[in-house]
Subunit: 434 residues, 2 copies
């Protein structure tokens, strides 16, 4: 029986994290927030999705959801599943709203919230967690979900089908491995710029004791401070654990190369967002320099604010990244992430999704698991970011054991927030903000 989407509700939910320094880095100091979307239907089950924002301005993505909602309301799930690209383009190629992007920023993040809510609904109706729903879809249905417009010079429908068919081989064994061990992860909770050295040392030690063997620190402050903190963390985790660094775009291209020349001393595994997120050619230059500095040990990573699949396409074409950090809701939802996973597989670059914020860990675990089962088919160099914040607000929070994500089991995309959290943190009228 088909289900009609009868309404879109959107809530401006903000958590007051800025005051504590959680999530602070070289350029952000945020009140982690969600533009939270609930789809109502004529058949009971509802869909939930959100896009993550950094506090102020969450009202803009909420308003953008309202501006786009008429493309969603009145459709049936069967219609959307039958013509996914037509549905997706109704959102991203609206003949008036497209001007506000195109396919980037506020309008595209709102698209992501809506599209993800539709996938949550689809998986919920199928009675499967999203990762399993996607992994069970026939190759043709997955290929039909990808808009190849503007990426066909790098990835064709035939390329996609070949990758996804190949992903059927050995899938059950890979699933059994994940069910036994969980999915590899790393933690970003140890080294926010807002934390003093003692806290960084204490958190690093606690993380190591909890089983983490890959940790990420923020850089981009004064270089001497970055180096001191990096040495401190390296001393705690020993020479074998992985230490990643994240500059959050603060450097110019030449500054990034200079900084990494010094920071190479602590054997970083990757440098994330070394310069402006739009600078594909700059990332390529930094990647070449860093590879030379470290004998190929350190790679460039980016993606959390890469605007769309066209940007990812070029990062891969230019050999600018050795790690692709897709985000679940910066881009236009599951359909576009699917394009990005396929591009990464085509170019042989591992995907390590961006998480943290609010609800991003809940989202991206599904994407990484699906990627392993059907697209990338390897755990080599694959890790999902983990930040230990705000999971308590979700109905189906992530579960971590020994530094690995356990497979989500409930139907849907793990995007549903607890009603009491929405009520308490709704901005500006929830009790937490009054």
């Amino acid at each position: 029986m088909d289900v009609t989407i009868t309404g879109v509700d959107v809530h401006d939910v903000r958590f007051p994290t800025a005051a504590s320094g959680d999530g602070s880095d070289a350029i952000n100091r945020g009140d982690y927030s969600a533009t939270y979307v609930q789809l109502t239907t004529d058949a009971g089950p509802a869909g939930a999705g959100f896009t993550f924002t950094n506090g102020r301005g969450n009202e803009l993505t909420c308003a953008a959801v309202r501006a786009l909602a008429h493309h969603v309301v009145g459709r049936t799930v069967a219609q959307i599943a039958a013509e996914p690209v037509a549905f997706w383009r109704s959102l991203v190629a609206d003949e008036q709203l497209r001007w506000l992007g195109p396919e980037k920023g506020v309008i595209h993040m709102a698209t992501g919230a809506l599209v993800n809510a539709v996938w949550d609904l689809r998986a919920t109706l199928a009675g499967k967690p999203l990762w399993r729903y996607l992994a069970d879809l026939p190759t043709d249905d997955l290929v039909a979900s990808v808009d190849f417009r503007h990426i066909s010079d790098a990835l064709t429908p035939d390329d996609a089908a070949t990758i996804l068919d190949k992903g059927l081989v050995g899938r059950d064994q890979r699933l059994a491995d994940l069910e036994r061990d969980g999915f590899p992860a790393y933690t970003t909770s140890v080294g926010w710029l807002g934390y003093p050295d003692d806290r960084v040392r204490e958190l690093t030690r606690a993380a190591y004791d909890a089983g983490w063997r890959a940790v990420k620190m923020k850089v981009g402050g004064p270089l001497a401070d970055d180096l001191r903190r990096a040495r401190l963390i390296r001393a705690e985790i020993g020479p074998d654990a992985l230490l990643m660094m994240d500059a959050n775009q603060v450097w110019d291209v030449d500054e990034a190369i200079t900084a990494m020349t010094a920071l190479a001393e602590v054997d970083p595994y990757w440098i994330e967002e070394p310069t402006h997120a739009d600078d594909i050619l700059g990332h390529a230059r930094i990647a070449r320099a860093v590879a030379e500095l470290t004998g190929g040990r350190c790679r460039v990573a980016t993606g959390e604010v890469a605007a769309n699949r066209v940007v990812f396409k070029q990062l891969l074409q230019a050999e600018a990244i050795g790690v692709m950090q897709v985000d679940a809701c910066r881009v236009g939802g599951v359909d576009e992430v699917l394009a990005e996973l396929l591009l990464a597989a085509k170019f042989g670059v591992p995907v390590c999704p961006h998480a943290g914020g609010v609800g991003l860990c809940e989202y991206v675990q599904h994407l990484a698991i699906f990627d392993y089962l059907r697209v990338g088919t390897s755990l080599d160099g694959r890790m999902v970011e983990y930040v230990d914040h705000l999971h308590e607000h979700f109905v189906d929070p992530v579960r971590i054991r020994d530094g690995r994500y356990l497979l989500p089991e409930r139907p849907g995309y793990s995007a549903t927030m607890r009603p009491e959290s929405i009520a308490r943190f709704r901005f500006p009228d929830g009790p937490a903000w009054r």
Copy 2:
């Protein structure tokens, strides 16, 4: 005497142009709109600025102006002029709002409206049209207005100073030439996709008779239709006039090359937006192909939705464009346009600003004139777009004679709308919309 900015008013002004097919192209069919900003001051003179949008969603850029306004209110004009980059960064690097871009889409367009309003105020207080105010600024003041962050690998403050100092030589003669002849222009009013062939023929003939020797048509429909219309226009304007084409991003990279292989027959002067605006590497491939197809006669042009100076930097570094089409309010206002004009000069690429819409012609004439006087210092390959729509709503509308812009004479940035137009077209409560 210093002037304090005491308030920011924003109006959602929309003109119902979609119904007539004006402004229709391969992907847009818009109700030309303005997110119109008025700065109030404690000293009488006010500043006006706007960003252009395509109708639906104009409420989002209006809301973004409100979200950013606290960075503007309470400042004095002298403070801003003394530390322009600090002011600009308060808008584009807000530690929470930046996440919604960064420096792109809704939030950046709103920044453009506010920053332009400040420049309108500055020029008004100085009693000069903006082009003259800018052209008279000392090199040091102009250099100090540019945020070199993320472009220093392509343009340094020393580079900028060298270009601007060189621009002082011969400036008076160039100004005398412009005062006599006006600034070269081309018209885009002849070939919107929404117009039937007869109307295209009639408009082309009228344009030619009015002195236009450079016209632009929209392409990106069925190739046979594009070619038929192109032949029709070429037949009307003869072999010597320039015919430009604009695909508004509808093609994939390989489609663009295929289409231009056919359209080369009519000797196009440029192909504008041949593919997705974010595709720097794609534009570079198309540029190489088109140059080869036409023996270097046809070039690639883009810019009207290029998100920011980092994108323009790369388009130039990659030799992807032979014409740079800066937009006055897509990017973060005059300060960022200044960076883009300097980048174009550094790389030797002519600037032909994007106009049309509502008020864009009024804005960009100032930029092109300043560019000629102090930066690019040549008219070779320089033209300002002209579309004959909606000028009647401005207090200081453009003046065209024999296909050229006459120099604006009133103080300010020509951005002030007539109060009766704002009242009539205010959305949704103005009489035009009720």
